[in-house]
């Protein structure tokens, strides 16, 4: 029924025959230049799992500790990310609070936990409960995880606050920096094609 040796460009629909790429290589559409697929080493999903697990730990650290502290005339204030969402909610800016919660907490967490779960169960050669649904979900929410934009936003607000008070970067700020790198690395290492093929054989 299916022809797995073909790959269609998702941006211009041109059909290509899939070939073996050299290590680190990527295939681009000959007509529109869109990325078709990358070379994935055989242990790609092992690496992805290690990176995703690290990112999970960093995510916890980044959410438990305060992002920034502020000192004005001897009074010290600080806030965690969730604390910041809460103050927006209490400030009647509920739409914005939901948007921030969704893009910086919910989506990254769901993506990381989901990816880790799928990779762990695949590694054990089992079909994890809901693996297909989880991979579908990860694919659909991917554009909405915005940790890197959030980090830049924190840096901009630090500069703004530096004009009026003494600013102390918190533990979570550095954790968010590392989290951003590990999320990107895990996403780059993850080989969805191998995961789908494996899921197909388990079924």
């Amino acid at each position: 029924m299916s022809s797995p040796t073909f790959v269609a460009c998702l941006e211009c629909d041109l059909l290509h025959r899939q070939t073996q790429l050299p290590s680190g290589g990527e295939a681009r559409c000959t007509r529109c230049g869109a990325l078709l697929y990358r070379h994935a080493p055989p242990d790609a999903n092992e690496r992805a799992l290690a990176l995703a697990l690290t990112a999970c730990i960093l995510f916890v650290v980044a959410n438990v500790y305060p992002i920034v502290g502020l000192e004005v005339q001897g009074t010290h204030t600080s806030s965690t990310l969730f604390g910041a969402v809460e103050s927006l909610w209490d400030d009647e800016a509920r739409t914005v609070a939901v948007l921030v919660f969704f893009t910086t907490i919910f989506v990254p967490a769901a993506e990381l936990i989901g990816l880790t779960w799928v990779l762990v169960t695949l590694r054990q050669g089992a079909r994890g409960r809901g693996a297909v649904a989880i991979l579908h979900f990860i694919e659909s929410v991917k554009p909405w995880g915005m940790v890197e934009v959030f980090l830049l936003g924190v840096l901009v607000s630090l500069v703004k606050l530096a004009h009026i008070a003494i600013v102390e970067p918190g533990v979570a700020l550095f954790s968010f920096g590392a989290l951003m790198a590990f999320i990107a690395a895990a996403a780059a290492a993850f080989d969805p094609d191998a995961a789908w093929k494996q899921l197909e054989t388990i079924r």
Binding site: E11, C32, L99, V154
Partner: protein, 208 residues
């Protein structure tokens, strides 16, 4: 260029989730990917109508997003309302030129360019243009990637509200412009996701 071997011409279609290429179903019937079970579409459904709908909503909200304050600061010296642009102006006059340019680019230029680009893309497909398909596809790729960076100002407001509200010397509150601005970003992201760049190439095939 005329008889390009596209998936559609070969009676095949690619799953948008797992990318498996499979045989296209007879027209009018629903099909699901044999590998991952996702619903299959030849092209994104109602692509142009949805793109226009999200885009027009975004353009309308772009006005309050830029004219209403995104945050209000009250201190001993009185209250002050900041719009996106006055926030940029503040950074510029206080000497942070790099940061001012960054915020201006992310919050003003990116949404504006993105909306214009989407209108050009949807309009050119509607008018069956065959000009520069490769450039238009690249334009689509860029705006789809860059759109998320407009959320920058929303996060700046979030941090400022959280930190300055609790202290005594001043308090910062989110203004109505913030919600409008967030909505513009979300709507333009939906608009970009609804647009199907393959439509640009379909016209190419038919006209040649």
């Amino acid at each position: 260029m005329s008889k390009a071997p596209t998936a559609a011409r070969s009676g095949l279609l690619a799953c948008e989730v797992c990318r498996l290429v499979s045989h296209a179903p007879p027209p009018g019937s629903d099909a699901y990917c044999p590998r991952c079970g996702a619903m299959l579409h030849m092209r994104k459904p109602a692509s142009l109508a949805r793109t226009w709908a999200f885009l027009i909503a975004a353009i309308i909200l772009y006005v309050p997003a830029n004219t209403l304050p995104i945050m209000d600061t009250s201190s001993l010296f009185g209250t002050q309302s900041d719009t996106i642009l006055s926030g940029v102006a503040f950074l510029w006059t206080s000497g942070s030129f790099v940061l001012a340019s960054l915020v201006f680019f992310a919050s003003v230029m990116v949404p504006l360019v993105k909306m214009i680009a989407l209108a050009v893309l949807a309009g050119s497909v509607q008018m069956r243009s065959v000009a520069h398909p490769r450039t238009r596809t690249r334009l689509y790729r860029i705006i789809e990637f860059a759109g998320r960076w407009s959320m920058l100002d929303i996060y700046v407001v979030t941090i400022l509200v959280a930190l300055v509200q609790v202290s005594t010397f001043a308090s910062i509150h989110a203004g109505p412009g913030a919600a409008a601005f967030g909505a513009v970003v979300v709507l333009t992201m939906f608009a970009a996701a609804s647009f199907d760049p393959r439509l640009i190439w379909d016209i190419q095939e038919k006209e040649s």
